[in-house]
C-alpha cells in the first residue's frame, strides 16, 4: 500500500491524466463487450443470474444463464425461457408448459417453474392468462454455476458494491503500470 502512495506523489499531471484515460478505456471496453453481446444474441439481457429456487434442482440461486433471442428459432414447449411480467423489472426463469400458435404467427405461452407445483398464471399481471413473444427476454442456452452469487451479494448489500467499485477505481487510477 505504501508503494502505491509513493507512486502517486511521484506522478505529474500528464501521467495522472494518462491513468484516467486508461480507466476510461477499461470502462468503455466493458460496455462495448456487453452491448456487442446484446447484438449477437438478440436479447436485451444476454446474461442473467438466477434469483430464486423455483427451477431447482436444475438451477440454483446464483447460477449464471446465457440467453439468446433469435426470431427465426421459434420457442417451443419444454424450453427454458426468461421473461419479464409487464410492469415488473425482475426477470423470471421458467419452462414453457403450453403453447398455442395461430396461422398469423401470434403465439401464447404458459410457463411453470420446475420446482413449483402450479403454473405461473399467479405470477402474470392481473387479468393476464398467457405470455406473448414480447414478454420474453430470451431462451436459456448455457449455464455457468455459482458465478452469479457475486451479483446477488452486491445487490443485497449495496455497501459492498460501492466499496468494491471505489477500491477498483482507486487502484486503477493510482497504480503505475
Amino acid at each position: 500500500m505504501d508503494s502505491l502512495f509513493e507512486d502517486l506523489r511521484r506522478m505529474n499531471k500528464r501521467q495522472f491524466l494518462y491513468q484516467v484515460l486508461s480507466f476510461g478505456m477499461i470502462v468503455s471496453s466493458a460496455l462495448m463487450i456487453w452491448k456487442g453481446l446484446m447484438v449477437v444474441t438478440g436479447s436485451e439481457s444476454p446474461i442473467v443470474v438466477v434469483l430464486s429456487g423455483s427451477m431447482e434442482p436444475a438451477f440454483h440461486r446464483g447460477d449464471l444463464l446465457f440467453l439468446t433471442n433469435y426470431e427465426q428459432d421459434p420457442i417451443r414447449v419444454g424450453e427454458i425461457v426468461v421473461f419479464k411480467v409487464e410492469g415488473r423489472d425482475i426477470p423470471i426463469v421458467h419452462r414453457v408448459l403450453k403453447l398455442h400458435e395461430r396461422s398469423n404467427g401470434t403465439v401464447k405461452f404458459l410457463t411453470k417453474g420446475d420446482n413449483n407445483s402450479v403454473d405461473d398464471r399467479g405470477l402474470y399481471a392481473p387479468g393476464q392468462l398467457w405470455l406473448t413473444k414480447k414478454d420474453i427476454v430470451g431462451r436459456a442456452r448455457g449455464l455457468l454455476p455459482y458465478v452469479g452469487m457475486v451479483t446477488i451479494y452486491m445487490n443485497e448489500y449495496p455497501k459492498v458494491k460501492y466499496a468494491l467499485l471505489a477500491g477498483l477505481a482507486g487502484y486503477v487510477l493510482i497504480h503505475r503500470e
Partner: protein
C-alpha cells in the same frame, strides 16, 4: 511471498483459476456428445371432455385425458457433466383455430445416479390437457413425443426428442362420466 495478505491473495487466485479450468474442461469434454435415445410410447385410454376451464377464460373448452405407457432407457445419456435430465411428454396437434398446439402432460426429473430406465404402465397425466378452444374432439392427428432437456454442471442446455413417437385419435363423442 512474505506477508499473510500476499499469501492469501495467491492462494485465492490459484483456487479460482483451478476451478475455472476444471469447469471449462467439464464443458469442453461433453460439448459434442450425442444425447439421443429411443422411446416407446403407447396410449391405453383416450377421452375428451368439454367443460368450463376455470383456470383460464372460463369458457367451455375441450379437455383431453389419456392414460399411457412409457418405456425408455436413458442410461447412456449420463456423463460427468450431466447434472439431471428433465423429461417431458408433449401432445402436439393442430386445430382449426390454431396452427400449432403443444401441451406438456407429464414430466419427470432424473438426476445423475438415479434410476434412468423408464418402464411405466398406465401413467396418468400430471397436468390438465386443456385445448385453447374446442379442437380436440375427433382430432385425428395428435402426436405424443418424449423430449428431454440435458442440464449440465456447466455448458450447453440441449433439448432432444426421442426417436419413436405415438400418434392417436380423440373420440368423436365427449365423455360425460367421471374417470
Amino acid at each position: 511471498m512474505h506477508s499473510a495478505f500476499t499469501r492469501c491473495h495467491a492462494l485465492a487466485a490459484y483456487t479460482v483459476s483451478v476451478l475455472a479450468g476444471l469447469t471449462f474442461v467439464c464443458f469442453v469434454t461433453t460439448a459434442f456428445r450425442d444425447y439421443s435415445a429411443n422411446a416407446d410410447i403407447n396410449t391405453v385410454t383416450v377421452l375428451v371432455r368439454n367443460v368450463p376451464d376455470y383456470s383460464a377464460s372460463r369458457e367451455k373448452n375441450d379437455m383431453g385425458f389419456m392414460i399411457f405407457d412409457l418405456k425408455a432407457d436413458l442410461r447412456p445419456l449420463f456423463n460427468w457433466n450431466v447434472k439431471q435430465l428433465f423429461l417431458y411428454l408433449t401432445a402436439e396437434y393442430e386445430t382449426p383455430s390454431n396452427k400449432l398446439n403443444q401441451v406438456v402432460i407429464w414430466d419427470k426429473i432424473i438426476q445423475r445416479g438415479e434410476n434412468a430406465v423408464l418402464d411405466h404402465k398406465n401413467i396418468r397425466p400430471k397436468y390438465y390437457f386443456w385445448d385453447d378452444g374446442n379442437g380436440l374432439r375427433g382430432n385425428k392427428n395428435v402426436t405424443l413425443t418424449l423430449s428431454w432437456n440435458v442440464i449440465p454442471n456447466a455448458g450447453h442446455l440441449p433439448i432432444l426428442v426421442a426417436k419413436g413417437n405415438h400418434r392417436f385419435t380423440f373420440p368423436e363423442e365427449y365423455t360425460t362420466t367421471k374417470m
